[in-house]
């Protein structure tokens, strides 16, 4: 049985344009497919990944055009629904950024900072990205 790992993702929108996804979300999805058992906590600026309807135009340089620009809300829904990876959002970090619960993609769970130690205790490993 795989070691249950809690992944706290704080770094946000780093290289997502060039990679067309978030490298940590991608890694966790790929590892889950290989048998890993992951849980995600989004904190800090990464809570914005859960805001529904986000997107960005692809990069254009001269005649070269990016056709598959990243959509982080879509990727998060994929983690939750297809990969069955629980995704928690630190609710205080949402509030600090003025993001309402109703703006988030379905399936994410809110967790308070004070409840985080309980999540830690449920996992064998904690990785902070």
């Amino acid at each position: 049985m795989a070691k249950k790992t809690l992944n706290i993702v704080e770094s946000a929108y780093r290289a997502v344009m060039e990679e067309q996804d978030d490298t940590i979300m991608w890694l966790l999805a790929a590892m889950q497919g290989a048998g890993a058992e992951h849980t995600v906590v989004l904190r800090g600026n990464a809570v914005n990944y859960a805001v529904a309807g986000q997107g960005v135009p692809g990069l254009t340089v001269g005649e070269w055009k990016q056709t598959q620009a990243p959509k982080m809300d879509r990727d998060l829904v994929d983690l939750i629904e297809k990969r069955k990876i629980p995704v928690y959002i630190v609710e205080e970090d949402l509030a600090e950024r003025g993001i309402e619960r109703g703006e988030l993609v379905p399936g994410v769970k809110l967790v308070s900072r004070t409840a985080l130690p309980g999540l830690f205790a449920e996992h064998v490993l904690v990785s902070h990205w």
Binding site: Y13, R14, A15, V16, M17, E18, E19, Q20, D21, W26, A29, A30, G33, L59, T60, V61, G62, E63, W64, Q66, T67, Q68, D78
Partner: protein, 136 residues
């Protein structure tokens, strides 16, 4: 009015930050306006024009190579050169020689060249303005 010359110094390696997306957006606009552009690709940025970059499929997205259409910075560099030329400008893209040697990325997009900090100095002296986009 004489054609403006802008110099950009880039430091980030490809595929590791959003700084390069910002840089390419600025370079694209400048090329469309026909400016002459100097680029000093320093440290990790010396890999931007490395020709052996290859797009890949994305199994997590469920897309093959064609569907994923993964961007490579070498293609963006090449497109920049073409766009500048089309609008009457020119691009002098210098890859820091020592940087490419230590990284083994010394095969460049045609139209870019190997250089040194002396080139950055010369760029600075000859430019109307200079923008450094550093690694943080």
């Amino acid at each position: 009015m004489s054609r403006k010359t802008l110099t950009f110094a880039l430091m980030d390696p490809p595929y590791e930050s959003e700084n390069l997306t910002t840089a390419f957006r600025l370079l694209d606009v400048a090329a469309r306006r026909g400016y002459n552009l100097n680029v000093f690709a320093y440290e990790g940025a010396s890999g931007l024009a490395f020709t052996r970059q290859a797009p890949h499929p994305n199994p997590v997205h469920g897309k093959d190579v064609a569907e994923e259409n993964h961007p490579t910075t070498k293609d963006q560099v090449a497109a920049l050169l073409v766009e500048a030329q089309k609008n009457g400008g020119k691009v002098d893209w210098v890859n820091c020689g020592m940087c490419v040697d230590e990284r083994g990325v010394n095969e460049f997009v045609p139209g870019t060249r190997r250089g040194s900090p002396a080139d950055f100095h010369a760029f600075t002296e000859a430019s109307d303005n200079v923008l450094v986009i550093p690694t943080k």
